[in-house]
Amino acid sequence: MSGHSNRIEKPGFGLLIDHTKPLSFTFDGKLFNGFNGDTIASALYGSQQVLLSRSFKYHRPRGALTMNGLDANTLVQVADEPNVRADLHPVAAGIAVKSINHLGSLQRDAFSVMDYFSRFLPVGFYYKTFFRPAGIWKYFERPIRIMAGLGTLDPRADHKYYDKAYLFTDVLVVGGGSAGLEAAIAAAETGAETLLIDENSQLGGSLLYGRVSDSREAADTLRTRLVAKARGLEKLTILTSTVVSGLFSDGWAAAIGGNRLYKIRARQTIVAAGSFDQPLVFRNNDRPGILFATAAQRLMRLYGVRPGNRAVIATSNTFGYEAALDLLDAGTEVAAVIDLGTTSGPTVDAVRSRGVRIVTGSTLVDAKGYLRVESVGVAAITGQGKTAAATDWITCDCVLISVGCSPALNLASHAGAKVIFDDAIQMHRAVSPPEGIALAGAAAGVWSPARVAAHAKATGSAAARLAAGEPGSEPPDADDPTAAAITHPYPIFKSGKGKEFIDFDEDLTIKDIINSVKDGYDDIQLVKRYSTAGLGPSQGRHANLNTIRIVGAVTGKPLAAIGTTTFRPPLVPEKFAHMAGRAFEPVRLTSMHHRHQELGAQFMTAGLWLRPAYYGSKDDAARTIDDEVRAVRTAAGLIDVSTLGGLDIRGPDAAAFIDRMYTWAYEKQPVGRARYTLMTDMSGVVIDDGVACRFAPNHYYVTATTSAVDQVYRAMTWSNVQWKMDVDVANVTAAYSAMNLAGPKARAIVQTLTTDIDFSKDAFPYMGVRTGTLAGIPVRVLRVGFVGEAGYEIHCPAGYGEALWDILMTAGKPHGLKPFGVEAQRILRLEKGHIIVGQDTDGLTNPIEAGMDWALAKKKPFYIGKRSIELQAAKGITRKLVGFAVTDSASPVPKDCHLIIRDGEIVGRVTSVVKSATLGKVIGLAYLPPTMTDAGQRFEIRVDGGAMVPAEVVPTPFYDPQNARQDI
């Protein structure tokens, strides 16, 4: 245990902690104590450990600023989790917390020497140097990268469990402070299903720690009443410890609670997210112990931690005076309230009556102390941003700041609201929020408790009515004169020397912003990008307003004209794992998958599917594949082709529809026949092929390639939305299993089975299609020949797939049937010279180049791509796909995509190449210029290592050129 306890042992303090449950943990290896309910930061603060981190650039000591997870000062490392907000993260027994971004120790950081070099590091310094002589940057980059960055990722870290939930509601209310509670209650009472989400573990927002009309009791009573009422409403669902991190223009709201991402659809959303405190900018305003008044109130009320023994408050509004009362109640001496203006009213009187010194018209101009503030200098304000010299030094160990707020407009802005600067209240406002979005409370510019309640109630009930489809009412009046007394117009005081921080995350000072403008970056967007103001982990919520003020002061432009930088989601940083959730990447398996596994298949990825590449050991792949090829060529083989796409096209216009989708002619195709299909896009590029089987005048069954079927289906439905033809397209890929039984013994095998299909040669010729039953299983049989042997592609309902596979495997056994995989099929089809779309075609291939002109119907008036293909035909092609064989059997085997080189120029490319055991040579397909495509013409392929392999053009098919075997 380090330091003595700083806890307040009084009623009314420490709302969230359980004094009966102490626990201990370590910070940088030292043991600390806390209580159940503490955050890491509150437990450390309670043990006098105010110093939490070192800053990004100058390695200055930093402590908590907001105590609400909104600043980067509290970033620590917890085990393998980097950049943890210590002021949000619940402390747990035994956790090991580490401080980050220092060399040596947090107390004695060797990198803090950077603070003394700051004068040599002007804003944008990295743009101004490190590049002469040329190439020198790489030597500077590495150390700069190491100096930058905050936490550390452990590449061995485990994947943890995260998931997602979907929520649907009429009204979503973001923020459970008084405005959010009132709005949610009103919405639920009006009859809407309402969802109230708050980031803290307890509802109440500032009612948890702040005051209403000077009174802590009044705040507590109001909170108790509202929470009790909210909890009692059946239509009101409450999520606490959950933060809404984004509202998206497509209607999603994202919320993160625990290990869960909630994806929320709400008819109406009310943003009652409160506001962000704004810093007072003065020399050394970043010293540990200087924190927002609300942070001190949170420390006291929520965690029972005294922010210090002797406090100074700098304020320009009554909130600062209220904090003074809290300090006094907690037993902290208030040395002085420094009022930037002349705040008056009962709160001020109450503070004064308790003997506190009040200095008006003055500000803090300096702070002494290093690891913790020790005293502050006070000076009279003499003009905007100007002061007299500091004459008054006040000893203190904590400083509370309350000089203004900036409404939390991020979410409304994500959703599309416009953000403007309102001079009257010296704050930004969201105007014209998109339909379905409303604001309440401080986010709407409404501050005084009575007005907040009335405005929020009206907003809540209006949202409920809108959600029910009832006409909306005029938005309630958000004008609140008290709002003007909150935010000081220019709480920025430059000292002669030293650092006054504008952006704590990025270590940017007043000078940096001024010099950005001096360097010519005078637009607020350029200032942000050049200086990096607002680019740190707290996304500028404490920096943007003061940056705009300085730019305004330097350029002389009114703040409203300067604009603001865009709010980008997320509101608070989101873990990658929250977005990923449980990775849902389904793997599609065919009905026969387990049979393939039993047969020892090696699988390969094909889109979402897994397909057998071959059946056997990886060590013996080449021989195994050759065996499979030989089985097909000499006996029979069976391949699972279930992944092939299947589309049922039915209706009176089925033939006419297919005629438009594909290049060939289908109207006159006889029932019971299959015909090749070739699909092109509007620019005439080949995108798919398959066969169209006509089972009835109004019914075609069209196959598509595994990877393209979804695209083909989309193209068909998309096209028919425009054509409005009388046709129905169903993607039945998953409904059917399919297997191709191929080889000279194929007919003999099926003829051993009970069937109502006549499989005899004459009754069921090549390119015929039949429906019927096979061994009692309903089937669609296609006599097609991708592998160049007699064969039957048998499609059956997916539920029968495994049974039919088993039946065929058993029936085929006496005939030497072997299962074969995709690798063997690639060889078999290439021996036949059949192309694979996507491998032998590329993103620009037209059918003529691919040698598919025979599949182009010349007389049809239209098909997709026709006009483009005809234009290209007239123009002439520059390449053509041809077969080739390697002429020197001793040369290395080329690979797919090796180039054909002539006279040092690229003239072509190999698209497919295999070593064919059947033919005893290396064969392939390649693109060549039209002048080089005659049979016997020779060319050279450049292979790995640069060797040139001689080859010659060979007509296809390489195997069985008369196509006799598929017809037997």
């Binding site: 004068r119 040329a134 984004g246 350029l526 794992a577 990923a580 990775a583 990447e585």
Partner: protein, 413 residues
């Protein structure tokens, strides 16, 4: 500590001249008006002034300096394209990038990191080999490597078979680099303005003035400007501006989203791209992971962000880098990608005399900034299409002379 920084420590006042010499008023006439003050327009202005002595130029920008896609891209520079035309073009860009800091007197933080295009399928391996072969032929350093070599170069990547889409190998391109995008544009603006070029922001072109089939100027929200020549360089709004010139472009504009993480200490040196998983990632000098994916699934003129984008991106990111689960996304945004049918840009002459186009930059615009600026300047100055960009002429779409880069351009920003 470099000496260049000493002066800042030793002088009382900020010792620099402003980078930008803004001129408040528009002139009535310029030799050249460039629409769009992004990287491309500024680079063209710089090269017109420096290489061709044309300095009476106005670069007009509807928003703020370099605030469009120049400010929104993910800063990757590479030359490992697929077509010989593309490779030759981007190769010159890489060469210009290497000396750009010195050329522009601003550190653009050009950092060669090595660039992986991962292959999870046979088809992707084939495309990788195709690109490698074309690259090597043209003197660009690219190799197909297997998964073991991927692991050796980038040990933190998950190359196990347990992944949903195991990594089979990659196209590895050692010169692949990142640069500070803003600094590139600012550098061109600074050096162009130094040579007399005027840049006018908040100046929106409403109309292209045409007389006898020639562009003669523009009408803006600040009045009419006459110009000898007009060039458009407005990625994301190309079709809209071209329409004002009477040109119809074969371009579909689609949002492209990106995001960055909170900064962490260096853990990833390379640029990693996976087309199959629709992800790419690199770590900036500041320590942020800079990440993106494929373009959105539909066309839209809106730079809104979506939740779906982050969900699918991170689902796949954690496949590649499971240890990044606890890292946090800090900020997301979107830019507008002008997609052409062949995934190649459009540069040069148009049917409208004295009107020049620089468009169709899809997801590959930043990496071409220097070469495009240089060659567009040459084109505008001479009125002729330079050889290097001849293949990218607008006329190619009517003659089917496309430059097919789909296999190398998508996701591979």
């Amino acid at each position: 500590m470099p000496f260049a920084l000493l002066k800042y420590g030793l002088s009382r006042e900020h010792p620099d001249d402003p980078h930008f010499r803004w001129k408040p008023d528009l002139k009535k006439t310029y030799d050249v008006v460039i629409i769009g003050a992004g990287g491309h327009g500024l680079a063209a202005a710089y090269h017109l002034a420096k290489d061709h002595g044309i300095t009476n130029i106005a670069v007009l920008e509807k928003g703020w300096l370099a605030g469009g896609n120049t400010a929104r891209n993910t800063t990757i520079v590479r030359a490992n394209y697929l077509t010989p035309e593309g490779v030759a073009f981007y190769k010159e860009s890489v060469e210009l990038f290497r000396t750009l800091s010195n050329e522009l007197d601003i550190n653009v933080m050009y950092s060669e990191r090595g660039h992986f295009t991962l292959a999870h399928t046979d088809a992707a391996m084939r495309t990788a080999r195709w690109r490698a072969e074309v690259n090597k032929h043209l003197g660009v350093n690219s190799e197909v490597i297997d998964s073991a070599e991927v692991k050796r170069i980038c040990p933190t990547m998950n190359v196990t078979d347990e992944a949903r889409y195991p990594i089979l190998g990659a196209l590895y391109h050692p010169p692949g680099a990142i640069a500070r995008h803003d600094a590139v544009a600012w550098g061109y603006a600074k050096e162009a303005m130094k040579r007399g070029v005027e840049v006018h922001t908040q100046t929106e072109v409403k109309k292209i003035l045409i007389e006898n089939g020639r562009a003669i100027g523009v009408e803006t929200n600040r009045g009419i400007i006459h110009a000898g020549k007009v060039m458009q360089a407005v990625a994301g709004s190309s079709s809209h501006v071209a329409r004002m010139a009477g040109l119809k472009l074969p371009i579909k504009t689609i949002p492209l989203q990106a995001c960055v993480s909170e900064p962490v200490k260096p853990i990833l040196d390379q640029i990693v791209v996976s087309g199959s998983l629709h992800v790419y990632i690199s770590q900036s000098a500041r320590g942020e992971m800079v990440m993106g994916g494929a373009t959105d699934p539909y066309g839209l003129y809106s730079s809104r962000s979506t939740l779906d984008f982050k969900e699918s991106l991170m689902g796949h990111m954690l496949e590649l880098f499971p240890f990044m689960g606890e890292l946090r996304i800090l900020r997301q945004w979107a830019g507008m990608a002008d997609m052409t049918p062949d995934f190649s840009p459009v540069m040069g002459l148009t049917p409208l005399e004295n009107y020049y186009i620089d468009a169709g930059w899809g997801t590959w615009g930043f990496k071409a900034t220097p070469v495009c600026g240089k060659r567009m300047a040459e084109c505008v100055a001479t009125g002729r299409q330079p050889d290097l960009i001849k293949p990218f002429a607008l006329s190619r779409f009517s003659t089917f002379d496309l430059v097919g880069e789909k296999g190398a351009a998508s996701v591979g920003h």
